[in-house]
């Protein structure tokens, strides 16, 4: 019966229970492709009438051909043809002769192969790269047993036949051919139809066949060791740097499963499977693959049973650490904590400082994720990492510290200094990944401080920088988180300046580079939603803004709550808005999001205005101002001053208002968003009017106010902020009227009238807002 002949997974090279992955000692095996390369080399040494240029091109080709993975004959001949068409033809001919002939042709080829380097003068001397390769191949060939030689020959024939098959156009040949029928059978494994015709139809019909095809392709041409390694390396690189170009998760998993079916000892495939399932957030398969990988790794590195620095004990430690990382990524903080403690304990027991450092950096990351203060831990980590000479970990720690410092309101110059220092470190060790992160971080910090120009500059630096890493696998741009962050900032900055088409262009680009299913997609989604929300709010189309609120809340809970309050306030649901704001403030204080706290305070103050209690708004605003100054948040500080000035204006002290406004005007005009600029100018004009109202030189004061209003109007119109534009036109008309400029007055009045018709009936208290 069948079970008698079961022989899967039996490895004759097993010693002492441990299968050594590389049992045969040599990695080199004679494959049909290698024979092709040998023929090429032989041809190069024999032929004398090659031009110098061709020879040079071919010489440059040798190394990649020798070290690269096996490729099809078609590709091989194509690359050779590009260098020297004649040689390519000669190689093709010789291979054809060998295949068309008998086994002895191949045997004689290997017999005559050593001739070129028998004389010392030859280019292919024994110790040269070529000579070494040839000798390797000869050795491997001579080790083959009788039946293996025959197998090699048939493999060569198949290799050549494949080439011939690809040369002739793939025709829909006579289906009676046995081979065709075979392949057809493979394609339609679910065949139920009685005849060949039906099978054909099925072939065209379902998506079922596609997966069959995928399944079939690698089975037909199994990957060699090097090809498999190349495949894994490439996919892993792509996953890290540009997920779009990597295989789709399902297809990649299929490939991996195939590879593992053929060679269960190929541990790296398990690791890639772990990465792949992380991509689709599959906790079960990723845990399974990770643990399987380390179980396997323990075996391959199992030469030394010691718990020392190398081999077995080491992989144990990293196994625990990786498990912690996995749980951390899935947000299982408690589990992550336990795994991490275990990793730390084992690492301590075996005095592995490097591993301990890695653990420490994960520890502070974990603490940060849990929301507790971890700056002490981070500092320790940086110090130790520097001590043990681990630049990557050290600067990663510094970056984390800078981030914490920025949020915690540390002095800006210190942060910038620290970043500059790490940058020097990065360039010295060419840690390109960290350089990207550092630039993105600088951008974010400038943006937080409200220096939009600097932020713009930094982001441009990163986007225009040439990547330090060599361009591998045709991936020019790194699609990492840093790029996503910077591009989002760029989009928001453009939107602030009213350049909506540019912003949407950037977002479109982001969508292409980071499709929605990839891990960094949430960044641009939030950014896109925020921009749309702002636009809808400025337009006064609150019903449009409302659906965005739910979408934002899905991505960022607090931001969602804040926006909800804004919409409620705009729709006059004052009490509800107030309740939401109070809840939000508590939440913010718990998580220490200062920016959000200030914004909440400002909105609360605005709510106070709605009920005309301007004096009660003052303490809130002052508190906000203190906070903003303490954390160097200039944009928010200026906005707070605007709010303060407005309150003062409404309380009847326009002189005071003008005074403090002067302080805020400069940063706002330099860095602020268009909306802020417009609002500031409108406010100035209002103050100027109020001040001028009671003075002798009323006329000049009003003239000034008119000018200011003109400017504000231009900003508002660029932003498409119609409600505010209407208010401005109204004020302009009144001023012109007071000044007696009838023509301009009529013009402004007309504009006002047009806008007023277009907009829904105004709310009564439009004067009560900034």
């Amino acid at each position: 019966m069948a079970s008698v002949h079961e022989s899967l997974y039996f490895n004759p090279m097993m010693t002492n229970g441990v299968v050594h992955a590389n049992v045969f000692g040599i990695k080199d095996w004679v494959t049909p492709y290698k024979i092709g390369v040998l023929v090429l080399l032989d041809e190069m040494t024999i032929s004398k009438r090659m031009t110098l240029l061709e020879r040079r091109r071919l010489n440059k080709l040798i190394l990649p051909l020798q070290q690269g993975p096996d490729v099809t004959l078609q590709q091989l001949l194509k690359t050779v043809e590009e260098c020297s068409p004649e040689t390519a033809f000669a190689v093709k001919l010789r291979l054809h002769m060998m295949v068309a002939g008998e086994l002895k042709d191949m045997e004689s080829f290997f017999d005559t192969l050593p001739n070129p380097f028998s004389d010392a003068e030859s280019e292919a001397s024994k110790t040269s790269v070529v000579g070494l390769f040839m000798r390797h191949m000869l050795l491997a060939y001579n080790k083959l047993s009788f039946s293996q030689v025959y197998k090699l020959y048939t493999a060569l024939q198949r290799y050549h036949d494949d080439y011939l098959g690809s040369q002739s156009d793939p025709p829909a040949g006579p289906a009676g051919d046995a081979d065709m029928e075979l392949s057809e059978m493979e394609l339609t494994s679910t065949d139920d139809g009685p005849g060949g015709e039906l099978e054909k139809e099925q072939q065209d019909a379902g998506p079922m066949q596609y997966s069959e095809l995928l399944d079939e392709a690698p089975r037909r041409c199994p990957l060699s060791q090097k090809q498999a390694e190349y495949f894994l390396a490439r996919q892993a690189y792509l996953l890290k740097n540009d997920e779009n170009k990597a295989l789709k998760p399902a297809a990649l998993q299929e490939e991996l499963n195939n590879m593992l079916k053929f060679n269960p000892d190929f541990a790296e495939a398990h690791y890639l499977s772990y990465l792949n399932s992380m991509r689709v957030q599959d906790v079960f398969i990723s845990t399974h693959s990770l643990l399987h990988y380390f179980d396997r790794l323990i075996l391959t590195g199992g030469d030394s049973k010691s718990n020392g620095d190398e081999g077995y004990g080491r992989s144990l430690r990293y196994a625990a650490l990786n498990l912690a990382a996995l749980h951390c990524r899935f947000g299982h903080y408690q589990q992550a904590d336990l795994a991490l403690q275990e990793a730390i304990r084992i690492a301590q027991e075996s005095n592995d400082h490097v591993c301990l450092q890695h653990c420490l950096s994960w520890l502070y990351t974990l603490e940060q994720l849990k929301g507790s203060d971890s700056s002490v831990l981070t500092e320790d980590s940086v110090k130790m990492a520097a001590h043990f000479g681990l630049p990557y970990l050290a600067s990663l720690g510094i970056q984390s510290l800078v981030q914490q410092g920025a949020i915690g309101g540390k002095a800006a110059n210190m942060l910038m200094d620290a970043l500059k220092d790490t940058d020097i470190l990065h360039w010295k060790h060419s840690l390109s990944e960290l350089i990207d992160i550092s630039l993105a971080q600088t951008t974010s910090i400038w943006r937080m401080y409200g220096k939009s120009t600097m932020a713009l500059q930094c982001s441009q630096v990163l986007l225009n920088m040439n990547s330090l890493e060599q361009v591998d696998f045709g991936v020019q741009q790194n699609n990492t988180e840093a790029f996503a962050v910077v591009l989002c900032h760029l989009a928001e900055l453009h939107a602030e300046q009213g350049l909506f088409s540019a912003a949407s262009e950037i977002l479109k680009h982001l969508k292409e580079r980071f499709p929605p299913h990839t891990q960094h997609a949430k960044l641009w989604m939030l950014c896109d939603l925020k921009i749309q929300f702002e636009r809808a709010m400025n337009d006064g189309k609150y019903h449009l803004a409302e659906p965005h609120v739910t979408a934002i809340a899905a991505l960022d809970q607090m931001e969602g709550l804040y926006r909800k309050a804004l919409v409620m306030k705009a729709q006059n649901q004052t009490t509800d808005a107030c309740r939401v704001l109070q809840r939000l403030q508590l939440l913010c204080e718990k998580t220490k999001r200062t920016e959000m706290i200030i914004r909440v305070m400002l909105t609360t103050a605005e709510l106070h205005w709605e009920s005309s209690s301007f004096s009660t708004a003052l303490p809130v605003l002052l508190q906000a101002l203190v906070l903003a100054r303490q954390y160097h948040l200039q944009a928010l500080a200026s906005e707070t001053i605007l709010h303060l000035a407005f309150s003062q204006l409404m309380l009847g002290v326009p002189e005071q208002a003008l005074n403090i406004l002067h302080e805020a005007m400069e940063p706002i005009l330099a860095h602020g968003a268009l909306l802020d600029k417009g609002r500031a100018l409108l406010l100035v004009a209002k103050c100027q009017m109020a001040v001028a109202g009671g003075r002798a030189d009323r006329h000049t004061g009003l003239e000034q106010a008119v000018q200011t209003l003109d400017e504000a109007a231009s900003y508002f119109s660029r932003l498409g902020c119609k409600e505010r534009l209407r208010d401005t036109h109204y004020l302009q008309a009144r001023l012109h009227h007071a000044l007696g400029h009838t023509v301009q007055r009529n013009e402004c009045a007309l504009l006002f009238r047009l806008l007023d018709q277009e907009l829904p009936p105004t709310r009564a208290n439009f004067t009560n807002r900034l």
Binding site: W29, Q148, L182, P194, K305, L323
Partner: protein, 604 residues
């Protein structure tokens, strides 16, 4: 006697027209129980000859064993040989020649002489020879492949061609039971499992008596739902299949019931059934039952080698060195190059703590059959004993590769990592093992211990309680739970646990771990004393005095009690407190129900 008992079994003994073969249609339902068995015997005899002609040796063996267990038939009752058709007569010579080659393992030669034959029998042998030739070549190829990566890729080249031809015939409806079976095997080898299941089901309908088809089907069914969804022929052999399936799916109770009813129906002499029951008892760790059955089996069939590895496992667990030694020597005399023999010898050496030699023999077993699951796991255990953890992990991983549902390998991996002091890491493996055997207390206790080490006491408590609830094998779960409660200063719960523990121990009548009993008594004495229930406290203290290590404390406690009593303090009459000895009789001691094991909250 046993024939009369057949009345008890009602289901599945009718023969209805599932069979297409002419011979079987004639044998349709006979009502009398006696005739029933005669018919079965007749069927068996004819299927034996059919299989024999086709070289299906294992099915022949199974059917013959079963037939042997039944009463011999009188001369007149013997079934006539199947009538020869015209084609059969034409092919007779070629078939005879080919069969002789086939028996000598010259498959290609056999196939060559059969190529022109047209009878169904010859066609099957033709295809089967080609299949076996491909398999043989595949095995030979593995040794000299062209590189390490190619080694897994060596395939039976004949499979694809066979599939093409067979599927054509299948569509045309020309396949009989045997060829359908072969078609199924080919499909399974090509990893087309779904199709294979369908074809095997068809094969069982076409020829229900061919045990090989059932066995193949058994390997492809992964869960009970799948089993229920299949429409199987209504034939007596189906009960054998179901019983086998239940054993595979760890539904031991159902399997035992099935086998019991089969025995009652008249198969009491069948060694097959006895061995299966013994294996089932082994799986639920009913060691005594299993041992006695195996001994019976060896009496009936002294040269049997199958299942002897399981027998040796049992002897090993009981530590019965002389018996194991006898078994090992006996088996070596019968055939020393059998997987089972090697496993038995491995177990023997392991019991003698010669772990290197044990590992060597398990390796030999694996060389004989690399898909022998038990040997991988056992080898893992040996490496564990030798503290060669990396080799142990390798062995266990191999076991899992062969069968993902091998809970012992998962458990072994967990143990390995526990030895390496990676308690969090091993949780995953224990959880896998627990998933596969939800009612096995050992995994739960192991899980609990890990949680305890990780100071996840809530989870640990759940695990221990659950382990107790599913029937604790080692009687350690409650004690550990009690100690945990003690640590957490939950004295009431701790006392409850100790009480149940003591009740358990005393009701068993075994006083094995008296150290732990004394600990429990000591704690209870103090507990009652604190709660001012002096009667119970003094009872406990007196019991304490029975044990050496607790004697002093017991006496001290007695003295304290008498002191307090002298001072005239009344014993508290709080009836809510439980009592050990008072409640020995009634078993429903109110114990705070710890919520049943809810690992889902911690399972990532």
């Amino acid at each position: 006697m046993c024939l009369l008992m057949g009345q008890g079994n009602s289901g599945g003994w009718r023969f209805e027209g599932g069979a297409t073969n002419q011979q079987y249609e004639k044998m349709a339902a006979l009502s009398s129980e006696f005739g029933d068995l005669v018919q079965i015997k007749k069927q068996l005899i004819s299927v034996i000859s059919l299989c024999k002609e086709r070289g299906l040796v294992h099915s022949v063996k199974w059917a013959s064993e079963l037939a042997f267990a039944l009463k011999p038939l009188p001369m007149s009752e013997l079934p006539p040989p199947p009538p020869l058709t015209k084609e059969d007569v034409e092919d007779l010579d070629a078939l005879g020649l080919a069969k002789s080659y086939f028996d000598l393992k010259e498959y290609d030669r056999a196939a060559y002489f059969l190529r022109a034959c047209r009878s169904k029998k010859a066609y099957f042998l033709y295809m089967y020879s080609r299949y076996l030739s491909g398999e043989k070549k595949k095995d030979d190829e593995t040794v000299d492949s062209l590189g390490p990566l190619e080694k897994g890729q060596v395939r039976n080249e004949a499979l694809r061609e066979l599939r093409v031809e067979l599927s054509k015939k299948h569509h045309a409806g020309e396949l009989d039971g045997f060829t359908l079976y072969l078609y199924g095997v080919v499909l399974r080898k090509l990893d087309l499992l779904k199709e294979a299941v369908d074809v095997f089901v068809e094969a069982t309908h076409a020829l229900p008596l061919h045990w090989g088809a059932w066995l193949e089907l058994c390997n492809l069914i992964t869960n009970i739902e799948m089993l229920k969804s299949l429409s199987l022929p209504d034939c007596w052999i189906r009960d054998f299949f179901l019983a086998h399936m239940y054993t595979e799916l760890q539904m031991i109770k159902e399997a035992l019931q099935k086998y019991q009813s089969l025995i009652e129906a008249g198969f009491s002499k069948s060694t097959y059934i006895i061995s299966q029951i013994a294996v089932a008892y082994h799986n639920i760790r009913d060691i005594d039952q299993a041992l006695s059955l195996f001994n019976e089996l060896r009496e009936q069939d002294p040269y049997r080698i199958e299942n002897m590895d399981t027998f040796s496992n049992l002897l090993y667990v009981r530590g019965m060195k002389p018996e194991l030694s006898y078994l090992a020597h006996n088996l070596v005399e019968i055939d020393k190059y059998r997987v089972e023999t090697c496993c038995v010898i491995g177990n023997y050496y392991s019991l003698r703590s010669q772990h290197e030699k044990a590992a060597l023999y398990f390796q030999r077993a694996l060389k004989l059959n690399p898909r022998c699951l038990g040997a991988w796991t056992l080898m893992g255990h040996e490496y564990m004993e030798m503290k060669n953890t990396s080799a142990a992990i390798q062995a266990y991983r191999h076991a899992i590769e062969v069968n993902k549902r091998d809970y012992r390998a998962w458990y072994g991996l967990g143990q390995t990592y526990e030895i390496l002091k990676m308690h969090f890491y091993c949780l995953y493996y224990y959880r896998r093992a627990h998933q596969l055997r939800p009612n096995d207390s050992r995994m739960l206790v192991a899980l609990g211990e890990c949680y305890e080490k990780l100071s996840q006491l809530v989870e640990a408590k759940k695990c221990y309680w659950r382990a107790y609830s599913v029937g604790d094998v080692e009687r350690m779960a409650l004690l550990k739970l009690a100690k945990l409660h003690e640590q957490l200063n939950e004295s009431d719960e701790a006392a409850h646990c100790y009480i149940i523990y003591i009740q358990d121990i005393f009701s068993c009548g075994e006083l094995l771990e008296h150290v732990e009993v004394s600990t429990a008594l000591r704690y209870l004495g103090q507990y009652y004393f604190k709660n001012k229930r002096y009667d119970e406290a003094s009872l406990c203290a007196q019991r304490c005095c029975d044990y050496n290590d607790a004697r002093e404390e017991g006496k001290a406690l007695l003295r304290q009690i008498s002191q307090v009593r002298d001072q005239g303090e009344a014993s508290s009459a709080d009836v809510s407190l439980p009592c050990v000895f008072g409640s020995l009789s009634n078993n429903n001691t109110p114990v705070r129900r710890v919520s049943p094991l809810d690992l889902s909250s911690v399972t990532p």
